[in-house]
Amino acid sequence: MTTTPPRSPRTLATRIRPRTWLIVGIIVAWLLAWRLLDGLWTLSLQSAEVTPLHLWLNEVNVWVSNNRDSNPVFVYLFDGIRGAVGALAGVFIALFVKTDVGLQLPEIGWLGVVALVTWVAAAVGNLRVALLTAVGFTAFGVLGLFGDAMWTFALTLTAVIISCLIGIPIGIWAGLSRRAEAVVTPVLDFMQTLPSFVYLAPLALLFLIGPPSAVIATVIYAAPPIIRLTAHGIRAGPATIGEAVDSLGANRRQRLWTTLLPLARNSIVVGLNQTVMAALSMVTIAALIAAPGLGQRVVQALQSLNVGNAFVAGLAIVVMAIVLDRVTTAASRRAEISARHSTDARRRRRVVALGAGLLVVVGAVYASRTFLWAARFPDGLSIGPWLSSVVGGATAWVQGALSILTANLKDGITIAIINPFQALLTGSPFFVVAAVILAIALIVGGVRATVVSALCLALVIAVGLWEDAMVTLGATLIATVVTMAIGIVVGVVMGRSSRVDQWLRPVLDAAQTMPAFVYLIPFLGLFGPSRFTAIVAAVIYASPVVIKIVAEGIGAVSAEAVEAAESTGASGWQTITKVQLPLAAASITLATNQGLIYVLSMVVVGGLVGGGALGYDVVAGFSQSSLFGKGLAAGVAIVLLGIMLDRITKSATQRRVTRLPGTRRARTSTAPIPAAH
């Protein structure tokens, strides 16, 4: 970081102004071009229409399904992977979900599972999270969804174990070798900009449908955080320690096992936490390729518009997310504490207590294999149907009472904002829109971002989905603008007041652990299936991360700058707009980057609830064989949009960081930014 003094806010404002005018000019020119050339060269493609590329992909699909049993690549490679993953998943499925013999009860019934996971939580974490785990897992039974929850749990567990087996070695390798890091980092960046949705169709093509493919999709989605944080932990080990160990004559292997890995342990456990959360999120979405579990209950409920059932299943997912998050967080704290101070006496007490607990677990497992009441959660104790009908009734009442309000809000915003903006994007000739996007990329992002964007746009045209891509882009931009407005307002309040920060942060943390699916439910209930619903869900989904980054940026503005402004008699409003916001510009740009990625992934999931465009193409591609190729192409187009938006905003962030030494700490790529779910 350079040592030049911070520029004064005034010169900053004047420096930004010409660029702003330039962008306004571009938009005016765009509007004119749209007026003159409306409907020409729009590259539109009706929803049943396909291009030769899509047809070719359909043929690939048919070819794969016909040759799957004879082609060696499939027989040995893909079926081999599928078989191995299936075998591991099978172990956990037999343990927790069901076996194929007799009554098909799992090896460990509900009572045994609750006792076992509680004990594990106590062993890796502390008593508080153990209690939370016991309550949470019992809650699945009380919600009437114990079997489904165990499916989700078993698949998540399998995916997390495989992610660690693959991710930790790769992370160590990337941490030790600069060259490996240079290879791995861009791949991870790329994987983390992919919305979870787009993995599914290609994976179903290679690995068929069912639990093993769901696990494979989940591993691909959930592995990046643990790789990143393992590498981070290895690299962050102080060089002096490494040298000291070297001077003792340790070889590389000894150095890794005795110093680097123990030092990186904390970072690895933080990575594990993020991997677990990503895995849970993905396992629920994998319901679309026939992964059983809570996700399927949500999908079914969405399909029958049963908000009550969707709520109950969503609640179970939330409970599981909270339990897994707290347990892995407690485990990472524990990793930190036990490394520092722990007396022998305390340790011995703990071991004795855990040993005693283990006896209880053995007893519970035995009971759960011997008595039916302990094996299968008694239906009589379930409040699921009751809760579902209460929520369903309440929703129906709200829908009835607010129908005029919600309908007007939805129609008003759709007609006033969404439709005109979409018309502008899809009605203008494609080269005009492309030129506008590239000009803006050049102004805010720079030359490299512009080149990447040009490539992305060219490929979007090549896969034949320009019009749908523009609709999705439009929805994404609208949702991002709203998200940023919310994020800046709330973020500023949070950044300026530690009290607000204190009570808001846990809420945001909790909101960030929710799988994407859960966000659709309340808005589907309120607004019915529409693009508006998808946009609102995306705004709510993306807001927490944006608020947090903005608040961090505001909080990081040096106290002297704020005091200086206040001493010159600036009002609170002036301090915010003239000092804090400009100095936090890098954070705000970074927040925009994350906001766009989160929003894009949610807008796409919104294809399930009337969101249309690329998200719909992906959904339709899953379900209609004649649209398979188009769905696959839509997945590619979503990825391209994601890369483009990411590149433009990321290079804008980097420019800000280098230009604005006043911001003390901008989060750079080494910081573990959670992936968009």
Partner: protein, 328 residues
Amino acid sequence: MSPQLTPAPHRRRRLIGGAATIAAFALLASGCSSSLNTADAGSSDESACGTVNLAMNDWVGYTADAAVYTAVAEKQLGCTVNQLSITEQVAWQGFANGTVDLIIENWGHDDLAKTYITDQKVAVDAGPTGNVGHIGWYVPPWLAAEHPDILDWNNLNTYASEFTTSESGDQGQLLDGDPSFVTNDAALVTNLALDYTVIYSGSEAALIQAFRAAEENKTWLLGYFYEPQWFLSEVALEKVALPTFTEGCDADAAKIACDYPDYTLNKIMSKTLSASGSPAATLANNFSWTNDDQNLVAKYIAEDGMTPEAAADKWIADNQDVVDSWIK
């Protein structure tokens, strides 16, 4: 090796702890070898029938068929039925790897039948369900009464402006269901030069809700719908006549400009199940009932709020003679 590099004391203790844990788990696994499963495995019926993986597509008519099949197979034949939520075309893929054994109500899908029945030989046609399906465009009864000429597709453009919504912009809205349902609507709109755009409501439930609201509030609605369907007895939707279906007019999906054919709904079974000689396969082959039967069970589920199991039990109790003819 220097002393500093031997495992730290707490590390050694952790190793011991780990070993103890593993030992405990081994104890746990071996000591509790008795299980309700093995205790029960002796009963003979179940081994004779085995497990059927039944695809569950998401319209209520299908749920009705599946619920009755499941109830008969489980309660009268002692089979185990795994119900697997899956969309209709994806379900076919499941025949290849044993994920799916049975689709109990199939609508056409000649292309999939060619791939999985003719080419790959992993599935077989298990005969008609007895239901005949119709797909088409429907309007609420009040609209058909007030503007009878709307029931001819030639007049649809005249009324297009009445059907506009915030989702469809300045074109008329043609409301479709789940993207996975059999539909030619987008192609039809293009090829018949209609001033409409297809909007997907996302599900059967959303379609029903929309039609019900349209009839109640006398609002304009043109939508995709189908028979057999219990909702038609609640609101008698009227079908819009599209250009008559002729053999082969739907050969090219993108160029379709004719009505939907009549679908003889059938059951598709995996080769494995079919060859197993299991009573579940016999039941699947013989399962057959009328549109009225299906509508009745579907109505129990969708309108009367019964669970599919309860609805199936009720119908079976009233129609045991029909069931007997399936499992003879």
